[in-house]
């Protein structure tokens, strides 16, 4: 445990040292939701609901998604890709720690720094959109499942990105897979706009994807939406995906390491 705490501290120091870089990547998580907030504010001047969302709910979803993007989204797949391509992963493999655990605390360290940046942005949002969001109330009994679902969402995101990163063992270039993921997550995964905007048949397909367990489930619990009012059902879904992705990551990892040639070593 002390080993991982030290690794975490090193990552946090790295993130602080490269703070401008970190701040630039931070823009990629925060600017698109802010744009959507402006679009929704203008769109609701003409109508009172969009896909069953009131303006207050839509703004809460948008700010919520922005918080989740900075809070729990990790980008380990790019680092994994680089390490696999350059053969650097060999260095980590021979060290006396669990490499998944190392990546986990490493991403946590970088996240901590970005979270500090997001505090003023979130406060600004609450200040600007506060009047429109005022009508919204979150009952306290949803708080516990909400916190749990955010934590579980973080684990789902980590495992999913771990699986994505493993594809680099075969492709040696994550660009194609990463682009596909971003597009699918943004359109079908609720990473920018609610899944409820999709046509019904596509919603049914979208709910089969593990991405829902990252953003849609916590936000559905926050807003107390439709079938998902039963928050524990959503949490069950997240746990299910954690089990499935954990197993999948193990399979991909083992097969990948057999494939791995330590290029450049």
């Amino acid at each position: 445990m002390r080993l991982y705490l030290t690794l975490f501290r090193i990552s946090l120091q790295d993130a602080t040292q490269y703070r401008v870089e970190s701040a630039i990547w931070f823009l990629y998580e925060t600017v698109p939701p802010l744009m959507m907030a402006a679009v929704w504010l203008a769109a609701y001047q003409d109508q009172t609901t969009v896909a069953g969302f009131s303006l207050a709910e839509m703004l809460a979803y948008t700010v919520g998604v922005m918080i989740l993007r900075t809070l729990i989204t990790v980008h380990i797949e790019h680092g994994m890709d680089l390490e696999i391509r350059r053969g650097d992963i060999s260095n980590h493999l021979v060290r006396p720690f669990n490499i998944w655990g190392f990546w986990f605390v490493d991403s946590l360290g970088w996240k901590m720094f970005r979270n500090a940046l997001s505090v003023p942005v979130v406060l600004g949002c609450l200040f600007w959109f506060g009047p429109e969001m005022g009508a919204l109330s979150i009952s306290l009994d949803r708080l516990l499942p909400l916190v749990m679902s955010v934590l579980l969402g973080a684990v789902v995101c980590f495992l999913l990105k771990l699986c994505l990163g493993c594809t680099s063992f075969w492709t040696n270039d994550i660009v194609g897979v990463a682009t596909l993921y971003e597009v699918v997550a943004t359109i079908l995964g609720g990473m920018l706009v609610p899944v409820a905007l999709l046509p019904d048949w596509l919603q049914a397909v979208a709910w089969l994807l593990p991405i829902q367990a990252i953003y849609s489930v916590p936000l559905a619990i926050l807003l107390g939406k439709s079938d998902w009012e039963n928050a524990w059902y959503g949490i069950g879904l997240q746990v299910g995906w954690i089990v499935v992705l954990w197993a999948l990551a193990h399979v991909l990892w083992r097969a990948g390491l057999r494939q791995y040639e330590a290029v450049g070593r």
Partner: protein
């Protein structure tokens, strides 16, 4: 091989002795055009050599191009109109966004990324010693042909959008459109170049070239949706409205009068500022490591 026959060095590109003074300017333009063509040929040869990488990059930019319209479609099938824009007009706007995005990615993105690396590694010396404008050389060296499919998809959306609206834009509208897209590209380049030039003052920032992209993404939606001070800043100071909203308005025939000359002026001022800033920043260059 032909590259080697015409190396972009002072020896072959300096104006020939004995030429008339009046030949100076056309001679210089011809010289710069030749350098540009040589770079273009070199990049094309490179793309043809690494075909898989080219196909992959073209494929993923195509995916983004489709994404842009699907996102707009997702919003505008649920919403009747936003600040005067509906689904049909969003085809025009998204098409315009993709044209500027594709062209700017193809023409500038790799160059801006390389520029920050040149500064970090102290390799700018190799550029500064060449007998040609250093800003020109660092800005045009690379062209990414893999980003051009985005612009092609943009043109397709544009045609679909004008078709759905039943519009047949006249030469004035098309001329205004092309000019505004040109202005957007120039202003965007100037801002991007100035942002990357900042590393000469701050020292190493690995992803400085990536700073422009999220702001550019704001042009994906009509700039009329923004409230307060944000809208005038995006229209009159930064070229965000100029990327998609203003050209689309020109094509739809609803552009505010006076906007076209203003955007031409803005592009000229930003270009001039980028040039001044480059020269003033070069004094800070310490040629690290060499």
């Amino acid at each position: 091989m032909r590259e080697r026959a015409h190396p972009p060095t002072g020896a072959s590109l300096a104006p020939l002795p004995g030429r008339h003074e009046s030949d100076g300017r056309t001679g210089a333009i011809r010289r710069y055009a030749r350098v540009y063509l040589a770079c273009l040929r070199n990049c094309l040869a490179r793309e043809l050599e690494f075909r898989t990488s080219f196909a992959l990059s073209a494929g993923s930019t195509l995916l983004w191009a489709i994404f842009s319209m699907v996102l707009a479609g997702l919003i505008f099938t649920n919403v009747r109109q936003v600040a005067g824009w509906d689904l049909d007009r969003m085809f025009v706007l998204t098409g315009s966004f993709l044209i500027v995005e594709g062209l700017s990615a193809a023409l500038f993105h790799r160059n801006m990324q390389r520029l920050s690396e040149l500064v970090n590694r102290g390799e700018l010396d190799f550029v500064l010693t060449r007998p040609i404008s250093s800003q020109f050389l660092v800005s045009i060296r690379y062209v990414d042909f893999g980003d051009l499919p985005t612009a092609v998809v943009g043109v397709v959306y544009l045609v679909i959008g004008t078709g759905r609206l039943g519009l047949t834009p006249g030469p004035a509208e098309i001329g205004g459109y092309v000019l505004l897209v040109g202005c957007a590209l120039m202003s965007l380049y100037a801002i991007w170049f100035m942002a990357v030039t900042l590393v000469l003052w701050t020292g190493r920032i690995n992803n400085i070239a990536a700073v422009v992209e999220p702001f550019m993404g704001l042009a994906r939606m009509p700039s009329d949706v923004y409230r307060g001070l944000v809208r005038p800043i995006m229209t009159y100071v930064l070229p965000i409205a100029a990327i998609a909203t203003l050209p689309s308005k020109a094509l739809l025939g609803v552009l505010e009068p006076g906007m076209l000359p203003y955007q031409i002026g803005l592009a000229a001022v930003l270009l001039w500022a980028s040039h001044r800033f480059w020269h003033c920043s070069l004094r800070k260059y310490s040629s690290a490591s060499s």
